[in-house]
């Protein structure tokens, strides 16, 4: 029986706590009697017979007819699937998407369906490489569909292949992939890594365009979502659900397949990273000492390769299929079951180690914008009810935060860093002054459509993710990073963790309460 999440009150006997620092980590001693550490629940047991569970879900959907009854010869079937941004780290083969899509294809073949397109629901993310697609879908699916042009990646900048379905009463345009829109059935294959994934966000975001996305990927939505992980308090969720109403009226019939995974994040060589420090044995301590010392002497590129090659052992814990909203209700409950940790009250200082990966740097570089987004956009928002840190409190992150970008994946990020953040770091201001030009830049569009680049507007969205945290916190400090780079982000650099606490005392006084959010693994703090 896996143990639930746990909040440790730090006392004098508490050992130093693990802090991620990008592609390395350190142990930091937290002040006794006023610090606490939040640990994620242990991994839930995975489903033993995954293929049977998939088939069962397809044949016994929620509030919808079984999939075989929806399939008929001559129909237009489109299967869309979540892209490389999840799960994190990538899972060992076979990926859940491969298993689910193979099952759907088997049923389609049995029903005599031969017009099948498989589309990666990229939204404005980067196109994946062949290797990445093969990892995700398996060689059988790839070889059968890709060479015939029936497996491809959504292109939100192809005006001929987008369809406007309508507008919500709030004037939000709903535009999705034309092939998906005109299909007799759209099967969506999701992996729900966090509570905001899935539901109408799968199709209304994953298959949409800038024209649609701008209605909810903006500072107003982000600043008014408390948080993204709580559907009832998320403007992002509400906007996607309003769009879902339009999809229901004017869009294709959708068969939603949602899956959840456990938080078994690290392979055995790194499993100490998921353990609670006081439970480390001699071997864990030796692994930590040896690996952190070796990593600090390893060139950055090699370090990155080591971490990006990690394949997580996390595995499927649930699968549900059928009507979008009914399915998502079950999925969300399953995500909460794995990730929720009850926490009593807020803290003056929230600390978080930023790891090597986030949804947007798989096989890539965690650039400074993504550091901000991971800390303030994702980790800060992993709460229900109220943020872990009190209003006006301080966030301390640990990360090297170098001025380094992947030129192929993140070209517009470089310009955002060099030309936008030098002018302003205020989300609403940079949104008003710069977003449109980046979104409409022909070169960025070209790189997004033909290369492996995130869309020109994407760095803005990353910055917006953090806008609620920016509004909420009194100061953001990054420990161990490149000082000029951190200053350009608008944050305060500190050389050591103790320096950071000293700097924070200007805002929160000399004896602040401190909470360390010990993630990864991913969890959601249910703050009472």
């Amino acid at each position: 029986m896996p143990r639930p999440g746990f909040v440790l009150d730090v006392d004098r006997s508490t050992p130093p706590i693990l802090f991620w620092r990008g592609e390395n980590y350190s142990l930091e001693k937290l002040p006794a009697d006023r610090s606490r550490v939040i640990y994620a629940p242990e991994p839930e047991a995975a489903i033993e017979d995954i293929d049977s569970a998939i088939r069962h879900a397809l044949l016994n959907p929620i509030e919808m007819d079984p999939l075989p009854t929806l399939l008929f010869p001559g129909m237009k079937l489109t299967i869309a699937f979540d892209d490389i941004s999840l799960p994190l780290p990538k899972m060992t083969r076979p990926d859940i998407r491969q298993r689910v899509i193979e099952s759907v294809l088997d049923l389609a073949a049995e029903a005599g369906v031969d017009d099948v397109h498989i589309i990666a629901a990229l939204a404005l993310h980067r196109r994946m490489t062949e290797d990445e697609l093969r990892h995700m879908l398996g060689d059988r699916v790839y070889d059968a569909f890709a060479p015939r042009g029936m497996l491809y990646q959504h292109d939100a900048e192809d005006p001929d292949n987008m369809a406007l379905l309508g507008e919500t009463p709030q004037g939000e345009e709903v535009e999705i992939n034309k092939r998906a829109a005109e299909s007799d059935l759209l099967v969506y294959v999701n992996i729900n890594l966090v509570a905001m994934d899935g539901g109408w966000k799968s199709t209304a975001t994953g298959l949409s365009s800038y024209r649609s996305l701008r209605h909810h990927h903006n500072t107003h939505t982000m600043e008014n979502s408390r948080s993204f992980m709580d559907q009832h308090k998320s403007e992002l969720h509400k906007s996607n659900w309003r769009m879902g109403e339009i999809m229901k009226k004017h869009g294709p019939k959708i068969f939603q397949i949602e899956t959840t995974v456990n938080n078994d994040t690290f392979p055995s060589a790194f499993n100490f990273l998921g353990k609670r420090e006081w439970e480390w044995n001699a071997r864990d301590r030796a692994k930590f000492v040896a690996s952190s010392a070796a990593l600090s002497r390893t060139p950055a590129r090699m370090r990155r390769n080591i971490f990006q090659s990690i394949e997580a052992p996390h595995q499927m814990t649930s699968i549900q299929a059928g009507e979008v909203e009914a399915v998502h209700k079950v999925t969300t409950a399953n995500v909460y079951r794995q990730q929720l940790v009850e926490v009593q009250g807020q803290t003056d200082i929230l600390t978080m180690g930023i790891p090597f990966i986030c949804p947007y740097n798989v096989n890539s570089i965690m650039n400074p914008i993504l550091v901000m987004c991971t800390g303030l956009g994702y980790f800060f928002n992993l709460y229900r009810n109220k943020p872990l840190v009190r209003e006006g409190g301080v966030i301390i992150m640990t990360h090297p935060t170098t001025n380094e970008f992947h030129p192929v994946h993140h070209p517009s990020y470089i310009d955002f860093f060099e030309q936008v953040l030098t002018e302003t770091t205020v989300p609403s201001e940079l949104e008003a002054r710069f977003e449109k030009k980046f979104a409409e830049d022909e070169w960025y569009k070209h790189l997004y459509r033909t290369g492996n680049a995130y869309h020109g507007v994407h760095p803005f969205y990353m910055w917006y993710w953090g806008s609620h945290a920016l509004q909420h916190c009194g100061k953001v400090i990054i420990v161990g990073g490149d000082a000029p780079t951190i200053r350009r982000l608008g944050f305060t650099p500190a050389s050591t963790f103790n320096d950071a606490l000293e700097i924070a005392s200007d805002v929160v006084g000399r004896s602040p309460t401190i909470t360390h959010f010990h993630t990864p693994p991913i969890m959601i703090a249910d703050v009472k």
Binding site: I414, D415, E418, Q419, T422, E423, K437, F438, E440, D441, E442, W443, H446
Partner: protein, 396 residues
């Protein structure tokens, strides 16, 4: 008179060149420059007047000379020994305050003007620069006969003398000459993009000359997008104040230009780019960068003195890029046909932008080694322009 003098000494030039990479102050000490008591220059005729410098700036070309980096090109266009210094505000014997337009033009040498009312820098034949009655010299500050501004005295021809108003401070007036250079370069840029409603100009380098060009671009092309590559915070601050649309680090400039134009990147080059790039640095790297970010059939205005450079010109050939030097000033012709002396425009602009903001430090002649060191490290030390101050010199 008291003067800093450059003597023709190959050995000292070589030594200065060797040492300058380590320390300009030492280069000044062991190089061709000496502080001396010399005879004042002789007035050539009654069209010449004595000028007693109050402040004289230290320019990049002066530093190149002192550090032994000047091109051999100038061997036949200068005469030794000479007193450097051509950014001059001073007084005449009458007490009248003047700024000096240093180019030794046709009038100063008694030659026929290339056109009526031509300024010293005008014309398409430079023969007069090496002709009597003066020793060869392109400007005051490079001519044995006239002396230069790093002294307590020099001579200037009537065609070079501009009276300034009493309310113009010396600290502003000493910058009129570089402002004139900036205006000239800016107008060369603007004329190339005259038919474009909202041209895009890139300025590489934001030392004194780059800043002056930015101010002039903004004044004479109010709707232009001006993107500046500046290395240091003080430069960034002034570039914005003088009208730059955006200021980025030099290695970020090409991306900023691309973003402003919305063009593509093909290999190392932008597919389009700035209408005109003003290169206020003038070395191999800056010229190569200018070629990469200037649009096909665009223009590069070389404002910084380049000396010997190594550049792949294939892109220039393919893109039919114009590369144009911008040496000093003269008579400017505006798109509407109006003509005006650059120096008069410069006095106007220097007042408008309060050019004294660029003057960061002054030194007496006796502290020339510190002054030159400061000037050569200006950017890194948060400075823009360093000048000699002769207002307290006994020999004035």
């Amino acid at each position: 008179m008291k003067a800093l003098r450059v003597d023709r000494s190959t050995g000292r030039f070589m030594l200065a060149r060797l040492v300058s990479g380590i320390d300009t102050g030492t280069a000044a000490k062991i190089g061709p420059l000496t502080l001396a008591n010399c005879e004042p220059p002789t007035l050539v005729n009654n069209e010449w007047q004595r000028v007693h410098p109050l402040l004289t700036g230290i320019c990049g070309s002066d530093l190149a000379t002192v550090e032994g980096h000047a091109s051999t090109y100038f061997e036949h266009w200068v005469s030794f020994p000479f007193v450097p210094g051509h950014e001059i505000v001073g007084t005449l014997d009458s007490g009248e305050r003047v700024v000096i337009e240093p180019v030794l033009g046709h009038a100063a040498r008694g030659a026929e003007l290339p056109f009526p009312d031509a300024a010293p820098g005008d014309g398409d034949d430079y023969a007069h620069l090496a002709m009597p009655p003066l020793e060869p010299g392109i400007q005051i500050g490079f001519c044995n006969s006239t002396g230069g501004g790093w002294a307590t005295e020099l001579i200037a021809h009537a065609s070079q003398i501009h009276t300034i108003a009493s309310d113009m401070p010396d600290e502003r007036a000493v910058l009129v000459e570089p402002v004139a250079g900036g205006i000239h370069a800016a107008l060369l840029a603007i004329s190339h993009a005259a038919k474009t409603e909202a041209p895009i100009f890139a300025v590489l380098g934001a030392g004194t000359m780059g800043l002056c060009a930015i101010a002039a671009l903004r004044k004479y092309s109010p709707h232009a997008t001006i993107i500046v590559g500046a290395r240091y915070p003080a430069q960034t601050q002034l570039a914005k104040m003088f009208g730059a649309t955006s200021v980025v680090k030099p290695d970020e400039l090409m991306r900023a230009v691309r973003h402003a134009t919305g063009c593509h990147v093909v290999g190392d080059y932008l597919s389009s780019g700035a209408h005109v790039t003003i290169d206020a640095v003038g070395n191999s790297d800056s010229i190569a960068l200018s070629l990469r970010m200037t649009r096909p059939r665009g223009r590069i205005v070389l404002m910084g003195m380049p000396s010997e450079v190594t550049v792949d010109l294939t892109g220039l050939w393919h893109r039919e890029t114009q590369v144009m030097g911008a040496y000093t000033y003269g008579t400017e012709t505006f798109p509407n046909g109006a003509r005006k002396r650059t120096f008069l425009l410069a006095i106007e602009l220097a007042n408008e932008i309060h050019a004294e903001q660029m003057l960061s430090a002054t030194y007496p002649l006796s502290e020339y080694q510190q002054a030159l060191r400061h000037a050569s490290e200006a950017g890194a030390r948060g400075a823009i322009k360093v000048a000699f101050d002769m207002r307290q010199e006994k020999l004035r």
